[in-house]
């Protein structure tokens, strides 16, 4: 079986021919499109390291079949920074607040944070941010920095949008 599909990944159309429909979005990104920023920590929707935006919403890429998302717009960590390399406010805030240690969960944390801020449910309420970021495990325990980074970036982004 060969299955053609098109995804728009980080703004660019990417055509794929899958030999088999079992390929998850995560494995399509990592093994076929060589976008390895999205990480596989559990492959079962239990850690959040694979979080990407699909049509603007954060989901676990490990629990989605690529074929089912034919035509979708995907944003991965590689597509977040500006084309000139300037960091997205969430990325910059993660560095400033030391919101990571080993960095493995970080792409998922950052994509989740971007999704959370867009969802607009948390604002800068620490408790709502904690809850909203609870789908992203960090075994190093960088949660305090993650919280502060999200709060900071959230107000930055809101200010930008207001401007």
């Amino acid at each position: 079986m060969s299955i053609p599909l098109r995804l728009t990944v980080n703004g660019e159309p990417r055509d794929l021919i899958l030999e088999d429909p079992r390929v998850t979005l995560l494995d399509a990104l990592r093994e076929r499109l060589h976008l390895t920023g999205s990480k596989k920590g559990c492959d079962r929707g239990q850690c959040g390291a694979c979080t990407v935006l699909v049509d603007g919403r954060r989901i676990n890429a490990c629990l989605a079949l690529a074929v089912s998302l034919d035509g979708a717009e995907i944003t991965t960590i590689e597509g977040l920074a500006a084309r000139d390399g300037g960091l997205h406010p969430v990325q910059a805030a993660f560095i400033a607040h030391d919101g990571f240690q080993c960095g493995f969960c970080t792409p998922g944390q950052i994509m989740s944070a971007v999704g959370l801020i867009r969802e607009g449910q948390a604002g800068d309420d620490p408790e709502r941010i904690r809850e909203g970021m609870s789908g992203n495990l960090c075994r190093c325990g960088a949660y305090a920095g993650i919280l502060e980074a999200v709060r900071d970036a959230s107000s930055d982004m809101q200010r930008e949008e207001a401007a």
Partner: protein, 355 residues
């Protein structure tokens, strides 16, 4: 994952026809199905992708004054729908206490009803399980049973249903709309999931090829909006299945309970509506004694399925009292920051002050 054929259905009729093949399964978001397939817990030979079925992603008024929710509405969209959350706050709270934001963004309403138990022996294909292989035996019995059923179980299966969403739905008399090879029909949610009995492999009333197309809440379900809560005890603050949960809803009239609804999660293989407890509330003034009576009535028939889960009976009694107390106090203006958590009301917000 096993190899499978994949087809995408363009209409409900096409989906139902495609699913008539033996070994076929419907694929919506796949958040549970793909997890199960990765563990080889299920090995469908054909996936019928229903994500593009038209018209199933709407939340709309039903003809009778209730609401109709398409089966493909995402959990988060339903929970964050302002009108819906205002009318059915306990349902929104239950939805938002389940899984993670990422999973809620993907998972559908229909899929939530169809999710399978989290019993570790069901997930472990090296352990016998009557659900996976009828007649194989139940490894959970005599095993590690801390989170297993204390109601409605049988000697063939002691698993529980993991859904939060279904608990308030059962209390609110939700109706499941189904289409299938034999046409369309509706089933009350309370009757949708089956207790294990002698046939734990049969988990719902769905016949082969049948598809959930929508959920309906009847008009009177909105009558509880002022006093409706979902409360969920967990082993960690978020991103965990319920140890025990409760949906409590009251309609107060002149200081008395004109109508009360109560259902429990984590107790049985289906959301556990307790009508005896509801009856105990009727016409009474809300208060600790009444709530205790309701709790006793709710758990009167409960029976641990293992030594390790005996605590759940007492915990369930207490959560009933608490959930009713919270409901009586009134639905909060805004959904709590930690939905359904015992810490939801906490005035303390940790993390506000890191050094």
């Amino acid at each position: 994952m096993n190899r499978f054929d994949y087809s995408r259905a363009a209409s409900v009729a096409e989906a139902v026809a495609a699913a008539a093949r033996p070994g076929a399964a419907y694929l919506a978001a796949g958040t549970n199905l793909l997890d199960l397939m990765k563990g080889a817990v299920v090995t469908p030979g054909h996936l019928v992708d229903i994500t593009r079925l038209p018209g199933l992603d709407r939340i709309e008024p039903s003809g009778d004054g209730g609401v109709r929710i398409g089966a493909l509405v995402r959990n988060s969209d339903l929970a964050h729908d302002r009108d819906f959350a205002r009318a059915y706050p306990a349902v929104a709270e239950a939805l938002l206490s389940g899984a993670s934001a990422q999973l809620r963004n993907a998972a559908t309403v229909g899929g939530n009803l169809m999710q399978r138990t989290r019993c570790p022996y069901f997930y472990d294909t090296a352990s016998p399980c009557n659900k996976r292989t009828p007649g194989a035996g139940c490894a959970a019995i005599g095993g590690a049973t801390r989170l297993h059923a204390v109601a409605g179980w049988s000697e063939h299966c002691i698993a529980t249903h993991p859904s939060d969403f279904c608990v308030p739905l059962a209390a609110l008399d939700a109706i499941v709309e189904i289409e299938g090879p034999g046409g369309a029909r509706t089933v009350p949610l309370a009757d949708f999931h089956l207790l294990p009995g002698d046939t734990p492999e049969r988990e719902s009333v769905l016949a082969p090829g049948e598809l959930i197309v929508a959920l309906r809440l009847p008009p009177e379900a909105a009558g509880f909006s002022a006093h409706a809560r979902y409360l969920k005890v967990r082993d960690r603050t978020s991103y965990a299945f319920a140890v025990v949960s409760a949906a409590a809803m009251l309609r107060l009239d002149g200081g008395r309970i004109a109508d009360g609804r109560l259902a429990l999660g984590g107790l049985a293989l289906k959301p556990w509506r307790v009508k005896a407890a509801e009856a105990a509330l009727m016409g009474r003034a809300p208060g600790p004694e009444v709530f205790k009576e309701a709790a006793e009535a709710a758990l009167a028939e409960a029976k641990p399925s293992g030594e390790a889960n005996a605590f759940k009976v007492e915990l369930a009694r207490r959560i009933v009292v608490r959930a009713l107390t919270l409901a009586a106090a009134g639905t909060p203006e805004r959904l709590p920051a930690l939905p359904a958590s015992p810490f939801a009301a906490s005035s303390f917000a940790p993390g506000a002050a890191h050094g």
